[in-house]
Symmetry: C2
Subunit: 346 residues, 2 copies
């Protein structure tokens, strides 16, 4: 998908050369659509804020100029760069994985929390405790090597489907406007990072292909890994024990731990991103925090509960977060008003 986008941009730059040639010949073309680095964004305050931040940080001699090596942009994933309803992509992975593993675990059909999942008992699943989810994560995400886990995710992605939108793979449900922002920031010297509450190794399996973001620039939650020798070869085994929770305050902590520098621009969409935006925008010079508001029931989903939108419990944008945004000068992106196109996939 990203390759498709970069091919398109490549085509634009050939058009740019053609345009330059025509200008030399005295022929003027309307340049606007070709020059727009964010064609899926409607003109408005959100798009302008992004353009202004890039102009401020990349204009040599300007008060807010940042050396290219220090230009950093961070993106939450679920609900910010791809769909998170009716369940996080990684939740869909865990449920599919349980179903695939069930034949080897006949006891699951009589044991909770597995029984509820295997019988599609949504009412029971809605009441799952954190301990229930951890038991599911333990059997679906741990007990294998890092290499084996990567292979399992790689195999799952092309077969995956979003049950509410009846579309798949889930990686086709990334937001086209956000891919454009990533390409635009990178072309202006920024390093782009995913900073997700989701699993670091889960996202790394597809981040280069989907976002153009290499493994070292994916910061996420992680479980403990153990170094072991198997048949004379070293492996890293995944243990069912939380190592790092990259959510809420964990996002600011994770940015410091993995990057060691403060971003100039950060994108999120929920309570879990608040500290990342605080940490980002508290820095000196030009900084920008943005929050995606899902207010587009027609093309995607509408949920809050801010602004009277429904409270889906997955990906909460509370009124308190909206108040923080106002107080801190963060930009709220209205999916309905700011985005011409939603999905990168067909």
């Amino acid at each position: 998908m990203l390759r498709f986008l970069e091919m398109n941009l490549g085509r634009h730059s050939s058009i740019g050369c053609l345009a330059a040639g025509l200008i030399l010949l005295g022929v003027h073309l309307p340049a606007r659509a070709q020059d727009d680095p964010l064609p899926s964004w409607n003109d408005g305050p959100a798009k302008q804020a992004i353009l202004d931040l890039v102009a401020a940080t990349t204009t040599e001699g300007g008060a807010d100029y940042v050396e290219p090596a220090d230009r950093i942009a961070t993106f939450d994933q679920d609900g910010t760069t791809w769909v998170e309803q009716p369940l996080y992509g990684q939740g869909l992975f865990a449920l599919d994985r349980l179903a695939a593993m069930a034949p080897e675990h006949p006891d699951w059909k009589d044991t909770e929390p597995f029984k509820s999942v295997l019988t599609d008992d949504h009412a029971a699943m809605a009441k799952f405790t954190e301990k229930d989810w951890m038991e599911i994560v333990a059997v679906t995400h741990a007990g294998m090597s890092t290499a084996d886990f990567e292979k399992i995710v790689d195999d799952w992605v092309p077969k995956s489907e979003n049950p509410a939108l009846k579309r798949g793979p889930v990686t086709s449900l990334v937001y086209q406007p956000m891919l454009e922002v990533m390409v635009y920031l990178r072309s202006n010297g920024f390093r782009t990072y995913i900073v997700t509450g989701g699993g670091q190794e889960f996202v790394r399996a597809y981040s280069q292909d989907i976002y153009g973001i290499p493994p070292a620039q994916v910061i996420g939650s992680s479980i403990v890994t153990k170094y072991e020798m198997k048949d004379g070869e070293p492996v890293l085994m995944r243990d069912p024990k939380l190592f790092f929770n990259d959510n809420n305050d964990g996002k600011a902590i994770g940015i410091n731990l993995f990057i060691g520098e403060r971003p100039q621009i950060a994108f999120g969409n929920t309570e879990g991103d608040k500290e990342m935006l605080e940490w980002t925008t508290a820095g000196d010079g030009a900084r920008l925090g943005l929050l995606v508001l899902h207010d587009d029931a027609e093309r995607e989903f509408a949920y809050g509960p801010a602004d009277g939108l429904p409270d889906t419990k997955v990906g909460t944008f509370s009124q308190a977060l909206m108040d923080s945004a106002k107080q801190n000068g963060w930009t709220v992106i209205s999916m309905k008003d700011d985005w011409k196109t939603i999905f990168a996939g067909p």
Copy 2:
């Protein structure tokens, strides 16, 4: 120091242009010294192994070719890129820091482990337990914000001195041959990482200036940080509690956690680097593990106890590690035989 080196290399490339001009005029110069990317290395198997690894991984169409984005080199720090005797640089920092803080802590003069440090009781310090050292780390490395800690390290570095060599600052005691390897690898598309058992935030304070390595490429041991609001501004406070021990198996785990890809080349010098070299050289294609042997009492230090060298307890190169090197085909760098120059500083 690194700037000095890169200036020198810059000067070499001007000489290169001059040489090219002279060749056009039919004048031939002996090109060898100018073309050598590792001028502080004597010709020999260690230098050749590095040149061969770079040739193998960067020759397009070759069996071992690696895309530039995936070229990764990792360097242990203490004893590999700078002096670690008679005590790790960070140990010197902790002791200097205790002395500086002592006037505000009058009780320390009667309380261990502080008393032994403040009275320079080397016999007692040699018997310090891990708990003693942790108490010293707790008061010298924790209880302040990450920003304040960075400032403390920044202030200390220029005043620091190695007590055995009577030279300072400690950052002048980095090894010139290793700086050349870093520049050479980077000029061939490699990302260079420090992977140290030492403190990640300690090394980050000077890594860009000394090694040309940015904060995000310093992987080290770390303590817990906590996100707090102070006077309306977010800060990350350093807690006296170990978060990640980047030593032994921790080096392989840390490489996977922070980079998510396996290095093609890794440099170490002690037992603590064994798993990093195992993890590196177990990868497919061309891989290289190297260990610095300190066998040069005249210009630096001589310690092992491998090959009958003295056992200093700081930075142990055991006979078992030497046996592992032979078994795994790792290259041992003899400081005495392989390095023309030792220190980058004057």
